[in-house]
Amino acid sequence: MAAGADGNSLNFSDCIGCGLCILGCPAYEETGFDALTARGRNKALQHGLPAEEMVEPIWACTLCGYCDAICPTHVHNVEIVLHLRRSLVAQDLSPGEDVAQDFSPARDGRAEAPHYEDGRGKALETTARALVLGCTIRDRAPHLIPTIEEFLKRIGRPAGPVDDGCCGSLDVEAGRALPARLKAGVVVDPVCLEQYDAEFLGTLAMQHLDLFRFTAPFYYFAPHRIINRDHARTYPLYDALRRRFNCDMNFDLNRLARSTSAGSVQGLSGRDARDIPAAVSRLLEHSAAEQIITCSPADYLAFKAYSGRETLFITECLR
């Protein structure tokens, strides 16, 4: 496994075993198992283990990106996991059927979507200004979609929804497709970010704070994938929110974002593969805020279901 299919180096050999990646790893937080972390996978790969002997560590990853952001030697951990998943899928060693059961209404369309046949999103070539509605928001919180459009109108963003079938992020996570890396305009769901280079709804919101009414004290759950993937650019936006409103957020001492795991294959599978209630509880452990605001549909649902506190989607805070 010297190089990925897209030509990028799978540099697990660069892992020096420092363990910084485990600090915010959701799989590790829940289980305490080194083997399920980036360090664990990289050490196993360095030892020469093939993917088929690492099924559990490979599928345990939620692609939150914490490990990539903190790694002092710049190991591409998310890319390594995606590559290994594709390898497992090729050997029929994926949890695909279980995932499919939970997404059966949408999955048919997803599997048949022509623009994923080559993994390069052919159908989206002309949608550089598209609004991409992620699977989770469409499938799990359809009532939010009009609100998002309203939001986009108010901030003057063009909205050309592409919601006729899954955006493909779940296929990427499940190893059935490659990330497309297309310019897609505004992405609603952070799960989709493995698929597109795009602005994210929550990031846009941070740039237009005056449009919102936030009532302190509140807990703002920042989109961990966005922040961990593009930390230098996005963290200051959320830090500004924190300073302005003195709100609690899901940042750790490294200034990196922690996740609920809800917006991942593990969280969405419904098979209790990730203990999302426990993750929600950990995140809120030191926060007395009674109101939670989130800009990620999956996390919105997670907090709404498990926090016992008032949970708002960011568009519900529009003035």
Partner: protein, 478 residues
């Protein structure tokens, strides 16, 4: 993938492979099984079974040993990181599970406006592992090593008995107090620490300043003066080879320019001029100059990262230092021999160590600190705290900066031996004397002391299962 299920023992190769080496990445081994205990009762059951069967048990926390002490070559590897909760905190002490990393401790204390007192700069170390070996912080001149912050422990003995012991009078039970002294700085030989009550203190951000020198002796002398006067909240000496030497000091409340002290430091322009004169007519040495510039460019921005610095004050300095360590010292192989010496030998040890470094590597760094001592506690015997009547002891780490070069294990071993030989010559101790450096233990401490401690180990651990081979010879080899 039922992660909620409590998994205790794992034997699959993926679970074992991730423990194949430690922070040093020089020693490799493969345990037969990995156990993830969730309670002291789990640990006790494992040790009882292992004691009965004579199965070696290697304890592992952060796995950041450098001499293979936490690498299990066979038997059971006990990964204690799953026991990682803060159980209670009264504002002065915190009762924590020993598998917590110091980062987790800091995360748990910060919402309470608190911080731990003294811990290793590398926050990936666990509480239990640290209390077993020492734990040196930049504030150790004032607070001592991390092991001196523990006032109460829960320990599972090698035969599987769960004991709770604390400092001072254990309701008249002298055995309990003695056992606490054995376990602290005991290198994991006398029991498995499962919980600890550690001192905590209010959290303060830190103002960090540095002063430059070109002579290690002068820098160490200035550091000793600052420590004697308790003039700073934190201090350490860090070098780039012996070309540039920085005395780094930290202030938690009122930052001072230290005008009361006539520090013998040099302005940066003078240091650069001296280096220029030294290298100007030696073009074959310009690579070294490039190295100095590159390292400076890496080091200073990390201390001024706007993520952590506001208004000139470093917030969460432990995170900053911890990440800096891996950027600065980290690599495919980490070799950090050290000397723990008395202050009268501080400069001699540094100068002789530098000569050794130059013989083996083109690039290296020294990290020198002072550690407060609290009298002559029994725990200091046969530990990294050398015997002295002084109020402080001194420590120096000698780290090659490999710069991408690869060296053989023999080369590293010869380097470590040469550093440790300096220690043998001038007297003192070492922080990392276990694992593959075990042969130095008898030479350093003498047969009488080692045999006495080994007898204590034998009495507590009849089958010699716990962290076997890390410090003492097991019975068959004795």
């Amino acid at each position: 993938m039922a992660y909620n299920r409590r998994v205790i023992l794992r034997t699959d190769r993926a679970s074992r492979a991730c423990y194949q080496t430690d922070g040093g990445q020089v020693v490799y081994g493969f345990p037969d099984a990995v156990v993830h205990p969730r309670s002291p009762e789990d640990v006790a059951r494992v040790l009882q079974l292992a004691q009965r069967e004579g199965t070696p048990v290697t304890c592992r926390g952060g796995g950041l040993t450098t001499e293979g002490e936490s690498v299990g070559r066979r038997g059971i590897l006990l990964d204690l990181k799953g026991m990682n909760h803060l159980l209670e905190c009264d504002g002065h002490t915190a009762w924590v599970e020993a598998g917590m990393t110091w980062h987790q401790v800091a995360e748990a204390l910060r919402p309470r406006g608190l911080d731990y007192t003294s811990a290793p700069l590398n926050m990936l170390s666990t509480v239990g592992g640290t209390l077993g070996v020492g734990g040196i912080d930049v504030n150790s001149p004032r607070y001592g090593c991390a092991a001196d912050q523990a006032v109460e422990l829960e320990v599972v003995t090698p035969t599987g008995e769960i004991r709770r012991v604390r400092e001072g009078n254990n309701d008249g039970n002298n055995d309990a107090a003695d056992y606490l002294e054995r376990v602290l700085l005991g290198y994991g030989q006398f029991g498995v620490i499962t919980k600890a009550r550690i001192k905590v203190r209010p959290y303060h951000p830190m103002t960090v300043r540095h002063f430059l020198y070109t002579d290690i002796g002068i820098a160490l002398s200035d550091m000793m003066r600052l420590v004697d006067a308790d003039a700073v909240d934190a201090c350490a000496v860090l070098t780039l080879r012996d070309d540039v030497i920085a005395l780094i000091v930290g202030f938690e409340r009122n930052a001072s320019d230290l005008t009361d002290f006539t520090l013998q430091c040099l302005p940066e322009a003078i240091v650069i001029a001296k280096l220029g004169a030294q290298y100007a007519f030696r073009p074959w040495k310009w690579r070294d100059l490039a190295f100095l510039r590159r390292r400076k460019a890496e080091l200073l921005p990390a201390l001024h990262d706007p993520l952590f610095v506001r208004d000139g004050v470093v917030h969460d300095r432990t995170v900053v230092f911890s990440r800096l360590i891996w950027r600065y010292w980290g690599g495919p192989q980490v070799v950090i021999p050290d000397l723990a010496i008395t202050r009268s030998n501080f400069e001699t040890a540094a100068r002789r160590g530098i000569e050794v470094c130059k013989r083996f590597f083109p690039y290296f760094t020294l990290y020198a600190v002072m550690i407060r001592k609290f009298g002559n506690r029994p725990r200091y015997e046969m530990s990294a705290i050398p015997t002295t009547a002084d109020a402080h002891v001194c420590g120096i780490e000698f780290s090659p900066l490999l710069e991408g070069a690869r060296y053989s294990r023999d080369h590293f071993q010869q380097f470590k031996n040469a550093i440790y030989d300096v220690g043998l010559d001038i007297g003192g101790s070492y922080y990392r004397f276990g694992g593959v450096m075990k042969p130095y233990i008898r030479r350093m401490f003498g047969d009488e002391m080692v045999d006495r401690h080994r007898a204590m180990k034998q009495a507590l651990d009849p089958a010699f299962i716990l962290n076997r081979d890390a410090v003492f010879d097991p019975p068959a080899a004795a």
